[in-house]
């Protein structure tokens, strides 16, 4: 059980939850989060926004019953974190990396950017972050040593010049990731997408989160959520 230190309303239905969970985890991994006992039945997959060995942070959007319950938790309340699960983003070879996020899909890109910078301060990062509305969520991304560019409304791809990048990490609505992949595929050597599927177990046991790839069916929770863009059949 982790204890909530802060659960900050960022506006536009988004929240930042800071917990005292001190387990190290890799960018792109996620937890099955559970802020309740028996109901609703399933835990909710939420990406790691930040993890520093002392705290684990989540950026989430209230869309239904589970995230609504999460948003009502107060400092001192407990939350179950099952994980960290998933593969996370791999080491990137490229030097001019675009991190492209849409909406709440921006969440895993914070730690991804931070870790790349920590390991390879010389790499150039640009964060392209699209939101439907402006909110305090944007401010969260301002303390990374990276160029963070925001687009409120419209298509994120409109503000990206893929030619200035050799690698892309992307997370967001599938249609956005598909567009990013198609625009980048002939230009950037590495393209990684973080897929989103409904999940029950999170550990690879139920096959509920299957993602069709060129290498056959893969489990988003265990073999993913990060896949090579060229591997995935987008819907």
């Amino acid at each position: 059980m982790a204890v909530i230190l802060e659960n900050r309303d960022l506006g536009d239905s988004m929240f930042l939850m800071i917990t005292d969970h001190g387990v190290d985890s890799a960018p792109g991994q996620f937890y099955m989060v559970r802020g309740w006992d028996k109901y609703p039945l399933l835990s909710r997959p939420i990406s790691i926004f930040d993890s520093d060995g002392k705290t684990t942070k989540f950026l989430y959007r209230v869309v239904g019953e589970g995230t609504d319950l999460l948003s009502k938790l107060k400092p001192g309340d407990e939350v179950q974190l099952q994980g960290p699960y998933g593969n996370g983003f791999p080491e990137i070879k490229g030097n001019r990396i675009a991190l492209v996020g849409g909406g709440i899909g921006t969440a895993p890109l914070y730690l991804a950017a931070k870790e790349i910078k920590r390991k390879n301060p010389e790499k150039e990062l640009v964060l392209y972050l699209g939101f439907e509305n402006s909110s305090h969520a944007q401010e969260l991304f301002e303390d990374i040593e990276a160029d963070a560019r925001f687009k409120i409304g419209g298509y994120i791809t409109d503000i990206i010049d893929f030619k200035s990048h050799d690698a892309v990490l992307t997370c967001g609505p599938e249609a956005m990731m598909k567009a990013v992949f198609h625009e980048a595929k002939d230009i950037c050597g590495e393209i990684y997408v973080s897929m989103e599927k409904r999940m029950a177990c999170g550990v690879g046991a139920c096959l509920g989160c299957t993602c069709e790839t060129k290498a056959g069916n893969r489990r988003t929770c265990k073999d993913g959520p990060v896949f090579e863009g060229s591997e995935v059949f987008f819907e």
């Binding site: 559970r34 028996k38 109901y39 609703p40 039945l41 399933l42 835990s43 099952q82 409904r198 999940m199 029950a200 177990c201 999170g202 550990v203 690879g204 046991a205 139920c206 096959l207 509920g208 989160c209 299957t210 069709e212 056959g216 069916n217 265990k222």
Partner: protein, 299 residues
């Protein structure tokens, strides 16, 4: 002292707690939580003769205290499984292969291939509501259930447990038919056929329209069916459906189940298997029960 030792179709299980098919992979997925060999048994994901990609579209949909799934028996096929069977067999527990198929011939060939595998039991899945051919069809009527049980018994050298569908007109009658045709044990229930509609898209959520309902929501009905089936047959009955605590497990055992399986309950609580084994053992200790047999079928 282990008070939970349970005999099931000739096998001495450490305890009556089995991980249910389709919810525990091939035994290793929950290892970060506990050593799967503490369980009494593990039933594999449903295997079919030929590999199956499973269903397209949404596969999971949460309902109040329940889960609708439409996995569609995604599996690598029995031959691929058999080549790597050692991975599952090395777990020191009763290893069960859940066997599905599109038609009788496939079931028979699948069972034959498994004769060479170091497994402890076949669980004949004639109750999957999520595949078009085969699946539940065999489990809906007494005569087809009897036929397939008889045919598989002819070819298999493993003990045979038949997994029944709660969607059958009368599940206890199907159980009787299987028992009379040579089944060594029965397990029930598989999922209930259910449905969900997405009012935003004005479409059924699942591509197959219907899907299988599991989880705590179904427990009261599953328990009733297990109780009825236990009264109707003299072979062991393995009970499942919505078990989420050792107390739930105990209800099934009191209703006469020789063992229980835990399925959906693993998802919200990945430690469930461990907790049920411990909970039942402690319950026996506190109540001076030497072996759990003493309270089995007390109702």
């Amino acid at each position: 002292m282990n008070r939970l030792i349970t005999k099931l179709a000739g096998f001495n299980m450490k305890n009556p707690v089995i991980a249910a098919s389709g919810t525990f992979g091939y035994g290793h997925d929950y290892e970060q939580y506990y050593d799967p060999s503490i369980l009494g048994g593990i039933s594999s994901k449903g295997l079919t003769l030929n590999p199956k990609p499973g269903n397209k579209g949404i596969r999971l949909w949460e309902t109040p205290s329940g889960l609708l799934n439409s996995i569609g028996l995604e599996n690598p096929g029995i031959r691929a499984f058999a080549r790597e069977v050692y991975k599952m067999s090395e777990i020191d527990t009763m290893v069960i292969v859940n066997l599905g198929g599109d038609n009788l011939e496939e079931y028979i060939e699948g069972a034959s291939i498994l004769n060479d595998s170091p497994i402890d039991m076949i669980e004949l899945n004639i109750s999957c509501p999520n595949v078009k051919a085969g699946g539940m069809a065999f489990g809906m009527q007494c005569d087809s259930a009897a036929l397939i049980t008889r045919e598989i018994k002819k070819v298999t050298k493993h003990p045979l447990m038949v997994k029944l569908s709660p969607n059958a007109p009368n599940v206890a009658d199907v159980g009787v038919a299987c028992a009379e045709s040579g089944a060594d044990a029965l397990s029930l229930v598989n999922t209930f056929q259910g449905m969900a509609i997405d009012i935003k898209t004005k479409k059924a959520v699942f591509e197959n329209t219907y899907a299988g309902l599991s989880g705590p929501a179904i427990k009261p009905i599953a328990l009733r069916m297990v109780h009825q089936t236990v009264k109707a047959v003299s072979i062991p009955v393995v009970g499942l459906g919505g078990i989420s605590s050792w107390q739930d497990a105990l209800e099934f055992i009191m209703a006469g189940a020789t063992a229980v399986q835990i399925g959906t309950g693993n998802f919200p609580n990945p430690n469930l298997g461990k907790e049920i084994v411990r909970g039942l053992q402690k319950y026996c200790e506190k109540n001076g029960i030497i072996n759990i047999d003493e309270i089995r079928g007390i109702i």
